[in-house]
Point group: C2
């Protein structure tokens, strides 16, 4: 039985076509406090809540939903988080900083037994969650979306760190994959080189977890174009787009797509099939 938070309303229609969705009342009091009410009974609930902006409101809402469900007698609570806020704040870079994602994980653990996060920035941070925690890969839905468009193309990661992500998509499609190597050539400039791969005359799909400014993607696309690539596609799991980024990336490539972990104008790939598997 699914419970849909206000950060996942854009997924509600598709989920309810295939599964039971409990009605919830979610509103704000005039002073800004959230009010939630769950109109359903059961043993197990799967709460779906994506945590893009306003992320702090979405986080507190999930806490209140957890309390309401426990109060109602639900015994097993799973939490599915398409996009998890604070997941990039996963280490202390400067002394005095928190490991923000640790605090968030501990908070979610107050009410939820199991956590499912889509393409989490650093899978090791799942260890901060007190219960069982899983990373869900969007590789399958991304691969299917691009299967025909890409044809006998190549899947590329924008850097070595993202290689695993490119590999997953490439293996589903039976295609070649590689990554760019980044080299700092001046304090402000980074040179990118595709490693061990010939893109000439081939379609290329660049895969990343998050696009924000889109700067890296544009740079990679321009380079591929120079190297004679045919069509260039860019995909990411989470479209945390900065102002104007969608337009800038779209102009530089043949197609830009992200999944609907965050609702954006280019969220063309649905993760709902994976949510229904939880």
């Amino acid at each position: 039985m699914f419970v849909i938070g206000s950060g996942a309303l854009h997924l509600k229609g598709e989920i309810s076509e295939k599964a039971d969705v409990v009605e919830v009342e979610i509103k704000k009091f005039p002073d800004g406090e959230k009010y939630v009410r769950v109109l359903g009974e059961g043993e197990e609930a799967i709460v779906v809540q994506s945590m893009y902006h306003p992320q702090d409101e979405h986080l507190i809402e999930v806490l209140l939903l957890g309390d309401a469900l426990r109060e109602k007698g639900f015994r097993r609570l799973k939490l599915v988080v398409p996009y998890l806020a604070y997941s990039r704040q996963d280490r202390v870079t400067k002394e005095g900083e928190p490991v923000s994602i640790r605090a968030i994980m501990r908070m979610l653990g107050l009410y939820y037994d199991e956590l499912y996060v889509f393409d989490i920035h650093n899978p090791k941070t799942l260890g901060f969650f007190p219960g069982k925690a899983y990373n869900i890969s969007p590789a399958r839905v991304i691969a299917e979306y691009f299967r025909e468009k890409l044809g006998e193309g190549i899947v590329m990661a924008p850097d070595k760190g993202a290689l695993e992500r490119a590999r997953s998509v490439a293996e589903i499609l039976g295609l070649e994959y590689s990554h760019f190597e980044k080299k700092r050539i001046s304090p402000t400039e980074v040179q990118m080189t595709p490693v061990d791969v010939d893109v000439k005359g081939k379609n290329v799909l660049i895969v990343d977890d998050i696009i924000s400014t889109g700067g890296t993607m544009i740079k990679a696309a321009n380079l591929l174009r120079e190297l004679g690539a045919e069509k260039i596609f860019v995909v990411a799991t989470h479209g945390v787009f900065a102002e104007g980024a969608i337009e800038r990336v779209s102009k530089a490539v043949d197609e830009l797509a992200v999944t609907n972990t965050i609702p954006t104008p280019v969220s063309k790939i649905s993760i709902v099939p994976e949510i229904l598997n939880v």
Copy 2:
């Protein structure tokens, strides 16, 4: 050593006149995520954070500050909350609701050993906090602010539930106190009557915990005026004012004042002396 959250910046100057305040860096990333950094060392920290709107951001910030302080090696963390959000959501009124303040208390307990809340709506809810939790009465600072203005006046609670609050203030000043009795005379109208007290020719101070619309306070003030009261003062701990409420209440009484648990144009009474006692 004090750490001041962004909901308590209006108290920082006064606190730092009398006590050590650690520098903190608090900002937002472009996507809306909070970033905090604590620039200080020590064994014990007292975090001060008021949780008016945007209350959810203030809550998450306090969680991140707690993580940063633990990471820095602070062993004992106290949290002082001038205004605690969600404290009025203290029971299930309709089936399916959470006890929101319980969820909030549990969350604060993840990092803090002791909790100090100013004039909490329902003191019993302090029991949801896993560590030691205290209610701080603002009676002393309120009484001192009104001592001269009130003279040989009377302290009134707007209803029986607030009587204890009026009594505390009255006892400090050595004055008479009472309350109004509310009687529903139609589905939309409530009649108020002062109980066992003659206000004729006397100054009256009405004391409550929260003013939001101010409707009750205006009604009480008009009634006191009819009964021949001299000057009428209205005070509350927390000014959670609805749009236009400050103007409406101010027009109906001789003076409206609240404490600075929430910064408002009429937050004339400082709670900082009580914070310094924690």
